[in-house]
């Protein structure tokens, strides 16, 4: 199945060449994959990921993806 991914801040380095932070790109994943599987598939070290958003909600690594799900993945961020 295809899912859509957006990577932010430092994690941008794991996106396809030239993509700007937050630009969505598609990834082919096996059915029933979780957010953790996706992070692994993108070769992002687990400790670099802080939060993943799906449809405006922060979701755990065990969250199951469906075809067409859009996932936004963030490292630790903060400001004010």
């Amino acid at each position: 199945m295809k899912v859509t991914v957006k990577l932010f801040a430092m994690l941008q380095t794991y996106a396809p060449e030239g993509a700007r932070a937050g630009t969505p790109f598609e990834v082919e994943m096996p059915e029933n994959s979780t957010i953790a599987d996706l992070i692994d598939h993108l070769d992002i070290p687990e400790r670099e990921v802080k939060i993943a958003y799906v449809d405006g909600r922060a979701r755990s690594p065990q969250f199951r993806l469906e075809p067409g799900t859009e996932v936004g993945i963030f490292p630790p961020v903060g400001g004010g």
């Binding site: 957006k6 932010f8 801040a9 430092m10 941008q12 700007r20 932070a21 937050g22 630009t23 802080k50 939060i51 958003y53 449809d55 405006g56 909600r57 922060a58 936004g72 963030f74 490292p75 630790p76 961020v77 903060g78 400001g79 004010g80």
Partner: protein, 585 residues
């Protein structure tokens, strides 16, 4: 240590020993206690009986990392309540080295004259001179600062008001010099520029040459604390060198708030902005990298900051557009006005700095103007023109200078995103419930820094709290954050240390050790946070006497009936929950 009183009625001054009961206070604790003790809550904010207080944080001038913040306090012409506005500059350390616990500006001239107050240090004491400053009135602060620095030594510290303060706008801040002597560090919120203007004070200048080091009661304990604090800041991914803040600045938050559906867009009509990625901290970093041909990391607002979150935005000719583009400014003049052009936003921020306008109040005011149909959402040129008019004091500009709440009234628009007359910052309270509790209940009027529940609600820092869950726990969360914040604001540390010390317990211990080392006290963590709660009680007492009741601790009504996309949520926390924040303090 001294309290210096400046009498602007007859241009005299008095230096007093700090009374025993004020000896352990700094920053916000100092400004709020003094305002509480000395200002009649019924006084007109711009009349002779209001006072303006400048106070360095408790740890100012020490080697505590990121402790260059100070407080300015008074009764606010925007909210009608007590105000503490926080700023980072070399100022804070300079004040502390001069032995100044507080500078209190009192009275006002009988005429419309403007003055410079110059404070130097001779033979162990501050010495003060008053000079006419009328020749600088009406000018852009970006022109005025270089003139002043040329005339005086390069080593002085300058606080100033722009035209907005001269014209006594409820939207006017006080500028403090940045590390490059520019007028870009602002005690921005709550209209304290107008209070300074009402006292005829154009410039407050510190010359801290030949001043001693600050003294502390227990240097050994302080050093231990300083070390723990430093280690926490250097370790945490958000605060470490080349970490989140140092690389992308505070505008790193644009994308995550947008993902969470909590980025107020087009005068709080939506929680998502289609142009978010174009104005985010990542876009600032990338744009600079492309234009400057190298990666540019951020700088500090004050000496000794290890986090260094302040950015600079460059144009295509590698010229500086402005420093710095903070998250709040970027959002207020960007997403909130439907503007996705970073360079244009940078130019708007520069105008605000030059005229002394608070970028949050300005962006929200213009959002209301757009929402009311005077100009279109997304109109960059229209926005630039309106800010110019504010700075120049045209009739329309003066009206806009009253702030978002009054401008909404002028247009007969119920969509006024304000609490106690102050414009909301960059987090949608319908989509992030805890920050809504802070906006509604803090003594400051809508203010995110007063109780930054965003940390657990959005950033998963200091625990986790579901942002959409509307329950009593949000009141407890906000109350805890409000007390801790009052402590940090009094210490002189930057609030951004919170990211590290909420996650790393030894960092929090470090804060307490630093404070105990400075004061020679033996406070536990709980006792220290209780001193923060005490500040809140004093502020609340002042506001009650000024006429505020629980009914003022509410979010604007339109947020209770207008559903906010994408979550389609309303403001649904009960009045009882709101009232429990201070009811159970």
């Amino acid at each position: 240590m001294w309290i210096l009183r400046l009498n602007m009625t007859d241009r005299s001054y008095k230096i007093e020993e700090v009374p025993e009961r004020y000896k352990q206070l700094g920053g916000r604790a100092m400004t709020s206690t003094l305002i509480h003790d000395e200002v009649d809550p019924q006084a007109h904010p711009l009349g002779p009986n209001n006072k303006l207080v400048f106070a360095p944080g408790l740890l100012a001038g020490t080697s505590a990392p990121s402790s260059g913040r100070m407080s300015v306090g008074g009764k606010s012409p925007l909210t009608g309540g007590i105000k503490e506005s926080n700023v980072g500059s070399e100022w804070s350390a300079a004040m502390a080295r001069m032995g100044l616990k507080a500078v209190v500006v009192e009275g006002q001239p009988a005429d419309e004259s403007f003055w410079t107050v110059h404070i130097a240090y001779k033979e162990g004491k501050p010495v003060v001179e008053f000079q006419q400053a009328d020749e600088y009135v009406g000018q852009d602060l970006y022109d005025v600062y270089p003139m002043l620095y040329e005339k005086l030594s390069n080593k002085v510290q300058v606080a100033a008001i722009g035209t907005s303060g001269e014209l006594k706008y409820a939207n006017s801040g006080i500028a403090f010099n940045d590390m490059h002597k520019g007028p870009t560090r602002y005690a921005g919120r709550g209209g304290l520029g107008a209070v300074m203007g009402s006292k005829g004070l154009k410039f407050l200048i510190l010359d801290a040459a030949d001043t001693p080091r600050v003294e502390m009661a227990n240097p050994e304990l302080f050093r231990e604390g300083q070390k723990k604090m430093r280690e926490a800041l250097m370790e945490h991914a958000i605060t470490k060198p080349q970490g989140g803040l140092n690389t992308y600045g505070t505008a790193i938050l644009i994308n995550i708030l947008n993902e969470a559906g909590g980025l107020p867009t087009r005068n709080f009509r939506s929680g998502r902005f289609e142009g978010a990625a174009d104005i985010a901290g990542e876009a600032i970093f990338e744009s600079n990298k492309e234009r400057m041909g190298k990666e540019i990391y951020n700088h500090g607002c004050s000496p000794g900051c290890t986090i260094q979150c302040s950015n600079t935005l460059y144009d295509e000719n590698c010229e500086e557009i402005v420093s710095c583009v903070e998250y709040e400014s970027d959002w207020a003049l960007g997403a909130n006005c439907g503007i996705a052009n970073l360079d244009a936003i940078g130019r708007m921020i520069k105008l605000c700095n030059g005229y002394g306008l608070d970028t949050i109040e300005t962006g929200v005011t213009i959002g209301v103007v757009m929402d009311s149909g005077m100009i279109e959402f997304g109109d960059e040129q229209g926005t630039l023109d309106l800010i110019e008019q504010m700075g120049k004091g045209t009739p329309v500009g003066r009206l806009l200078g009253m702030g978002a709440a009054d401008v909404a009234k002028a247009f007969g628009n119920p969509r006024s995103p304000t609490v106690k007359g102050q414009a909301m910052p960059a987090y949608e309270p319908r989509a992030v419930k805890g920050i809504g509790v802070t906006y509604a209940t803090t003594t400051m009027g809508a203010d995110h820094t007063a109780g930054y529940t965003i940390a657990p609600e959005i950033l998963s820092v200091g625990g986790e709290s579901d942002p959409l869950q509307a329950d009593k726990a949000k009141a407890d969360l906000s109350r805890g954050f409000q007390s801790t914040t009052a402590l940090i604001d009094s210490s002189g540390h930057c609030l951004f240390i919170a990211f590290a010390i909420l996650d790393i317990p030894s960092g929090f211990e470090g804060l307490i050790d630093e404070i105990n080392g400075m004061l020679g006290t033996n406070m536990t963590q709980e006792e220290a946070v209780e001193t923060g709660a005490e500040v809140l009680r004093l502020e609340r007492a002042f506001n009650e006497k000024a006429g505020f009741t629980n009914a003022d601790d509410r979010l604007p009504e339109f947020m209770k009936y207008e559903k906010l996309p994408p979550h389609n949520v309303v403001a649904d926390l009960s009045d009882e929950v709101m009232d429990s924040v201070y009811g159970e303090l």
